[in-house]
Symmetry: C2
Subunit: 699 residues, 2 copies
């Protein structure tokens, strides 16, 4: 790869002589020829063809264009597939790689400091931490806690765990993440979707009703593996893994999950005793219907629930409309919990069938390390659950974190985030927490409450901890319906109809993935929903890359640029020459023979409909513009060869233009270059100039 | 889509005025500006920058290039996905479509005649059939029969059917194909691979030993469905379906099948009584070992088999070396059958443990229509088997037919072939034939015996028929070992090591598909082998289309063409400008964010290693050449937007160049065009000219 700042040539010709010499000759010559060529073409257009000037030029021109086509045919060997992979991995690893390389010069102490800083961003930002920051963080942290406490309890029940485990999950994980995470706003803790995932997958292994302890331990174990998966993929710099659930799929999945969660809240809202373990809408509605039928539900629950739900929604509406109501909106869940609890306590409504939380075990997170079930018979299923939960949690956290980081205009390091989330959950799993991640609703609150640093997470954690120590007994009379309404209030944030419409507008196939995930989650199960989404996304990739089809190119007026004649209606076809470009990026077993047939059809006489050039001018030259082609396989090469044979048998010349590096290499490996008489050129114009009859025709 | 033969402009300016007018102005103007631009750049290179002449030009040049970029941004809306599909299907259907359209003008009788001719090519070639043709066809037909009779019996036993069914399959199918097929050489009948497929899949449904009749009926039924599948996909013009088993996969599959068949022949060769029904090498060798252990095999079989095998191989070797031994090579199987039969008859070797065919039922094909098991409980599995057999049979027939057609320089219509094969098997299935297709070995013999038309197939069929009527009793004493050696002799043709090496040389990933199919067939089962092959092929497509990575482009000396700087070492980088092209053909969820990161790394200061341009010149303009991009999805667009934001925040301009039609459309739909300040250009040169600082730097 030579680099010659154009100036240097004149500054000192010797320095870059080796390169400059040929380049200069080249430049002079082809500039000259080009200028004349233009004139010539101009004159030619005014129908004065073949003056001796043109002749003298021709020789030089051909010289330069053969030179150019030699560049093409004698290109160096491309990097091997192995080399590509290594290069790719280096690219993936670069951020850390470059750091480490720069480290090696420094003394040990500094290196350690550097590594520590890289692992614990807290060491960086705590230096520049100011009291003003703390004021904001304190406020937002408290607001966060007021929303977090009821939500945590609600999500714990959603995950079929005792309420305190939700609170535990809001204590340790936020502290860990505050040390290791790179996002300033992300509010860590239990979230709706993950809780729903747990409650939909783990009960397939053991029945939470029958064996609550084993169920809980399996949940911890799954959390542990989720953490391992996240940390490992972060350390191995597999940050791109989270990208494999496409945006469209995620939108559909989230919406589906939200609806499912909503339906599940009917249990709490109606105070239904016996409820299905399955998550799909059908069986949920069935069991609701059954409970209606057997009248095993209680209107008071519905009354309380819906009353406070509307209260929360109204306050939020006000908060949106008017900034000064924002704080009210944020703490309205806590208010409603308190009010509802007092109400029930005063009216003793629990004796009239209102379901209440009853006892919540208080105190600090107990250690759960010895409860992880590594040698249980279910370990295989648990690992699978862990992977799914880990992936979804990660995807959600990244999506939320990135969107808010973008608002504040800083960048999240995907791999670092993964490591942070991973350790958060690993340590969580040994301190009685279930899988934690970044909650959308709470992060939004945190952001609008004006948090400055992860300190707001710390404040929240401490507040929740104090609540655990002191106030759990006060939650005895809290009605379960209120938890349902708090969860319901958090759901709309997960459904993004506007985005779905946008996807529909931009790409129908993406929308298919989106709606597929939605329906899959809604009517079958979470795994199926994800499976559908991923499958559709990849089938789309295949379809696009092998879509057979060709487009004719025409010259844009006043340029040497050739473009798709349908895209640029002003493009001019050259009589007697047909410039064809493949629409697909691969010429492979799946489309090669079809494309060959198609081209033969176009030039064969018996379908005028397809012919783009007028009839009195028969095609003398087919130019295959291969610039699209990423790769060609044996079938593709075979079909190119066949095409060339057929064309020659019909007295049509064939030239290929601007094949990519890999393709050029393969064409040379298989001697196709020589088989087509070396008719390979850099530009379409060169190809036309090189073919005498065609040029004559084009003049 | 305008078409203006350049001549017409001068011939009569009025006729094409609307187009010519702007074009001419365009041409004049930009030709002028281009010429001067060249001069200017030349002068600039000699370090005399900015003369007023250049200034005057600049305004015009910018005018023309804004004009050009307007063409890009105001391109008409691309055809919808639906339109694409319709167009594609029309493309698939075209051959017939065009015929029919041309038909509508003609009277009914002619139309019928036309359709008949299209369905029965025999009506076309029989007109021009000459006695000389018949002489050759007769000879080749007889040679074919001499090879076909022993092979058919052998393949029937391989398919676990009574010998006569192999002979039946060599009577009816060739006749049908001779009427409908378009290939002149293809020798139709039972083949090794299909027989092996049947014997490996149908026994999983019923045990041929326990219920021979049901087994046979299921084989007929499977054949029927294979025929239906073939005919239907031919009528629906799904000819491309056969392409979905890539060439590489087919090579591997054939080789694997050959080896498996070879091992299976150990049964006949050793005269083993109890042999496994499974086809994988391991269980075959196990049962061989067991029979050795229990000494339940007979050396005489091995003796006879290997003796005649070597005889056949030697004659073939001679035939290859010397043309006049060819006939001997062709009939050597028949000779060895006769000799072996006589030998056994004379020596009564069958009483010493030499296994013989015993009774073969003679006479014409019995009708088996009423034996098709449409309402059996196994129908589902049978249909599946039928589809697999049909696909494989078709693929083999097409591969063989095409290769020989290419030798004689005529073209096979894939869809017609499919219809022909389909009806061949449907009618075969109701006349006691199992699945027939084009045999490689026999087609080769047919070809070298100098056949002219499908008549050779007819001759063969009639000969076999006579054999069925007259000579079946003579085959009573034919040792089974001889059949094994005849099958073994036919196998080497299926193993193409040279092609495998070629695939390895050209494309490692293709080779993976090849070897995957081979190993899958060899050690697991036929279905698994096929599954591996197809999976690998499509995973390859995905990997290629989403491979992340970018390449820097440089200007080729003396041209306005920009090419990959690594592929063309003579390319010159423009200081201050970085021209980047994606290596992948899609910018989608799977690679978008990675590619964004990569570009940011390249321009960010902290990795000199990656920087292609020298340091005193900081990058002022990033040009994204999107000409590779087939499609972009929502994630891709989002990442482009983010990239633009980041670049702007670093004071770097970003321009996109030559996006494809669909991409342009989506960029417009999502307002990205306007978000990047309409910096979209047709050519890289335009983009450079449009950016003042960059142009200054490049001068």
């Amino acid at each position: 790869m030579v680099l010659v700042p154009s100036i240097s040539v004149t500054q000192d010709p010797v320095e870059a002589a080796d390169v400059a010499a040929p380049r200069d000759r080249e430049t002079q010559l082809s500039k000259f020829s080009q200028t004349l060529q233009n004139q010539q073409r101009q004159q030619a257009r005014v129908a004065s063809s073949g003056n001796e000037e043109a002749d003298t030029v021709d020789s030089e021109k051909t010289a330069s264009l053969t030179e150019r086509s030699r560049w093409l045919t004698t290109a160096p060997q491309p990097p091997s597939a192995w080399h590509e992979v290594v290069d790719y991995l280096r690219g993936v690893g670069l951020p850390s790689g470059s750091k480490l390389s720069s480290l090696n010069k420094k003394p040990v102490t500094q290196r350690v400091a550097c590594v520590l800083k890289a692992t614990f961003p807290v060491l960086q930002w705590c230096r520049s931490y100011k009291p003003t920051h703390f004021k904001n963080d304190l406020m937002s942290g408290l607001t966060l806690a007021s929303l977090c406490i009821p939500q945590s309890i609600g999500y714990a029940t959603l995950a079929k765990l005792d309420p305190q485990y939700g609170l535990y999950t809001s204590v340790v994980p936020p502290l860990i993440y505050a040390m290791m995470g790179t996002s300033k706003e992300l509010a860590i803790g239990p979230v709706a979707v993950v809780s729903m995932l747990i409650s939909s997958m783990v009960p397939q292994i053991v029945d939470p009703g029958a064996e609550p302890v084993l169920y809980r331990n399996l949940v911890f174990t799954a959390t542990f593996f989720a953490g391992i998966f996240q940390a490992v993929s972060g350390l191995l710099r597999l940050g791109f893994l989270v990208d494999f659930l496409s945006h469209a799929a995620l939108v559909g999945f989230m919406a589906g999950a939200a609806v499912v969660i909503g339906f599940q809240q009917l249990k709490g809202l109606l105070g239904i005793a016996h409820f299905t373990n399955r998550t799909d809408v059908v069986s949920v509605l069935q069991s609701v219907w059954r409970s209606f039928h057997h009248d095993s539900w209680n209107p008071y629950n519905l009354l309380i629930g819906s009353a406070f739900l509307s209260f929360i929604l109204i306050t939020r509406f006000l908060g949106r409309r008017n900034r000064k109501f924002f704080c009210l909106a944020a703490i309205s869940p806590l208010i409603s919990v308190i009010l509802a609890t007092v109400l029930v306590y005063v009216t003793r409504a629990d004796e009239h069938g209102v379901k209440i939380i009853k006892h919540i075990k208080g105190g600090l997170n107990p250690i759960s390390a010895q409860q992880l079930q590594f040698n249980s018979p279910y370990i295989g299923q648990v690992i699978k659950v862990g992977l799914i939960i880990g992936a979804i949690a990660l995807t959600e956290a990244m999506a939320v974190g990135r969107s808010f980081a973008a608002m504040k205009g800083y960048h999240l390091d995907g791999n670092k985030e993964m490591v942070a989330m991973g350790f958060t959950n690993i340590i969580g799993s040994i301190t009685s927490c279930y899988t934690a991640t970044g909650s959308f609703s709470r992060t939004a609150v945190n952001f609008s409450a004006g948090c400055e640093t992860p300190v707001s997470n710390i404040v929240m954690a401490i507040t929740v901890l104090m609540a655990l120590e002191l106030f759990t007994r006060l939650l005895y009379y809290t009605p379960i319906a209120i938890l349902a309404s708090i969860i319901l209030a958090a759901l709309p944030g997960l459904i993004d109809l506007h985005e779905a419409y946008h996807i529909w507008k931009v790409d129908k196939m993406d929308f298919l993935a989106c709606i597929g995930a939605f329906i899959g989650v809604l009517f079958v199960s979470v795994e199926i929903g994800l499976l559908i989404a991923v499958t559709v996304s990849f089938v789309k990739i295949i379809l696009i890359s092998i879509q057979p089809g060709i487009e004719t190119l025409g010259r844009l007026p006043g340029t040497d640029t050739f473009c798709n004649a349908d895209q640029y209606p002003m493009a001019i076809m050259i009589p007697g020459v047909m410039v064809v470009r493949l629409k697909s990026s691969l010429l492979c077993f799946a489309n090669a023979s079809f494309i060959k047939e198609r081209i033969m059809q176009w030039i064969s006489r018996d379908d005028e409909g397809e012919r783009k050039i007028d009839d009195f001018q028969t095609t003398q030259l087919i130019i295959l513009d291969l610039s699209n082609l990423m790769s060609i396989d044996t079938s593709g090469i075979a079909s190119l060869e066949e095409l060339h044979k057929n064309l020659v048998s019909q007295g049509v010349e064939m030239a290929i233009v601007n094949p990519k590096w890999q393709v050029t290499h393969k064409l040379r490996l298989t001697n196709l270059m020589s088989k087509i008489g070396g008719k390979a050129f850099l530009t379409i114009q060169d190809a036309i100039d090189a073919c005498p009859n065609a040029k004559l025709a084009s003049i």
